[in-house]
């Protein structure tokens, strides 16, 4: 097993005078096998992003554990160990605009990947160029540019190119397509499948769009209010949804060849 998530819970305490507990993630457990494409589907506030951040060690869980290749990630604390972990488990976030520091050229995001690679004598330029070509970008078109000079799709492809440099064992892609034009989503989605097929990378794909998850996943987990309400292979989720929430979710996805009743 590549990654085991066991009874993960995250509770936020908010408010100064009246302390209130907000349960972001509640008792979430799932496994990720090598070369597996797993989708976490849910609306905003369902806890899917929090789960991703915990796996990426960006925030700490309240309880529960995450085991990566047999090791509890709670024990990974030195910079050296952290770097090794992030080389194996990398992330891509929702907002391709906010993923780049506006003060730096986009090259920086790619160059940063080398901090994680062991060794020092890389031909950085050719590795970067190669990775950019893999994700369908022409290096001369994007290198040396500032983020605001590129489209959302190009920026997100650069982020994926960073994963092509690292070739991690697991990628957490948190809503990577929700801010991308509908017309280019499929192309970017395919890059994740390609990474899995060519480099055996497992993908945890986080989305609110059941349609996207349907085409690429081996398994879909439906999250609602912090818990997993249903899990199964894509066609079963779409064709025979069991949970009340999943039924509504499937119903509310706008289709191209069928109109909603009452509209």
């Amino acid at each position: 097993m590549l990654l085991e998530v066991k009874e993960l819970t995250k509770i936020y305490n908010v408010g100064l005078l009246r302390r209130k507990e907000i349960i972001a993630v509640k008792d979430v457990s799932f496994d990720v096998k090598p070369e597996m494409f797993l989708s976490l589907v849910g609306e905003s506030g369902s806890g899917k992003t929090t789960t991703a951040k915990i796996i990426l060690k960006l925030i700490k869980p309240t309880s529960g554990s995450i085991i990566f290749e047999g090791q509890n990630i709670e024990g990974i604390n030195t910079l050296k160990d952290l770097r090794r972990y992030w080389r194996n488990v990398h992330g891509i976030f929702q907002d391709p605009y906010a993923s780049f520091n506006p003060f730096h050229k986009v090259d920086r995001a790619l160059g940063q990947a080398f901090t994680l690679l062991e060794g020092s004598n890389f031909d950085k330029e050719s590795i970067i160029n190669e990775a950019l070509r893999e994700v369908g970008l022409r290096p001369e078109e994007v290198l040396g540019k500032y983020p605001h000079e590129l489209s959302g799709g190009q920026r997100q492809r650069i982020m994926i190119a960073r994963c092509y440099i690292l070739k991690p064992k697991l990628i957490l892609a948190d809503e990577p397509l929700s801010m991308i034009d509908a017309s280019t989503r499929a192309g970017i989605l395919k890059l994740f499948s390609k990474l899995r097929d060519e480099h055996k990378t497992s993908v945890i794909f986080i989305t609110h769009d059941l349609g996207l998850a349907y085409y690429v996943s081996d398994e879909i987990l439906i999250m609602y209010k912090g818990s997993i309400v249903e899990r199964g292979p894509p066609h079963e989720i779409i064709e025979k949804p069991q949970a009340q929430y999943t039924k509504r979710l499937v119903e509310d996805v706008p289709l191209l060849y069928k109109k909603w009743s009452g509209f």
Partner: protein, 280 residues
């Protein structure tokens, strides 16, 4: 990207006006002593003369030239303002940045310290330190003002830091295994540059007023001149009651102009950088 911002900034009337006033007074103080080379501390004529062709702004009670004093005073007040602002900014940014980025225990202890300094009446501290020092040059005064006026900067920087560190590009740098200090310097601080600059402007205006305040109660610089010192002497010799307007109006007006042009500048920048206020 940068020249575009500057071009846009100059379109803001408030900023143009305030910058005009501020730069005008600054130039007056820098070039004034060349064009009008009169020593502000030596006696040049009869005392308490109203403005005339020989003394464009008259003389004070000991026959010193008020215009020369004004030129020197603006220069020193600006100097104290800049140095004090830099000191507070330095302390405030460092404490705020570490506190906001690290969180947890570091944050709590640094903020406790900040709050202690924040609630202590700073004028009282300034008075105590100032009274303890027998000789006070502009640098001392700047330090006294600087070390007492940073807490709000630390608080503000911390708040900015906490919101910035949840931005995705910071996550990207974190999962690339960058050191914290590198993330703070490369990712976080540049993105609050406009904010830090505004804080600097506000601190400077506050420091110049604080300098005048210290001087007015006799705890200002002991050597040399400043706007506060001119006002101090003018007040000591009852210039207002005796109608010696040329003695207290120009330094008072200059102080107000400097401080308010800086305040106006920061408002203009604030409106530009926080779009919610734009066209509100």
């Amino acid at each position: 990207m940068i020249p575009r911002i500057i071009k846009d900034l100059f379109k803001i009337k408030k900023l143009d006006i305030s910058l005009g006033i501020f730069l005008g007074l600054m130039l007056l103080s820098l070039l004034g002593s060349i064009i009008y080379p009169v020593d502000p501390t030596s006696v040049v004529g009869p005392p308490e003369r109203p403005p005339s062709s020989a003394y464009p702004l008259g003389t004070d009670n000991r026959g010193r030239d008020v215009l020369a004093q004004l030129i020197g005073g603006i220069k020193n007040s600006l100097y104290i303002g800049v140095i004090a602002a830099l000191i507070s900014l330095g302390i405030g940014v460092i404490i705020g940045a570490i506190s906001g980025y690290k969180g947890g225990l570091t944050d709590s202890s640094l903020m406790l310290m900040t709050d202690v300094v924040l609630v202590l009446p700073s004028i009282l501290i300034m008075m105590l330190i100032a009274a303890y020092l027998k000789e006070r040059n502009p640098i001392f005064v700047s330090i006294i003002i600087g070390v007492t006026s940073w807490p709000w900067v630390a608080r503000a920087v911390r708040a900015q830091m906490m919101s910035l560190k949840a931005r995705e590009f910071v996550y990207m740098s974190r999962i690339a295994g960058l050191r914290d200090i590198k993330i703070i310097i490369e990712d976080l601080l540049p993105n609050m540059a406009s904010y830090i600059f505004m804080a600097f402007v506000l601190l400077m205006s506050g420091a110049m007023i604080a300098e005048a305040g210290l001087s007015m109660i006799g705890l200002g610089v002991t050597k040399g001149i400043s706007l506060g010192i001119i006002l101090y002497w003018a007040q000591l010799f009852e210039s207002v009651r005796r109608g010696l307007w040329w003695w207290f109006v120009p330094p008072g007006a200059c102080l107000v102009a400097l401080a308010s042009s800086l305040l106006l500048m920061s408002t203009a920048l604030d409106e530009y950088f926080s779009p919610r206020l734009k066209g509100g």
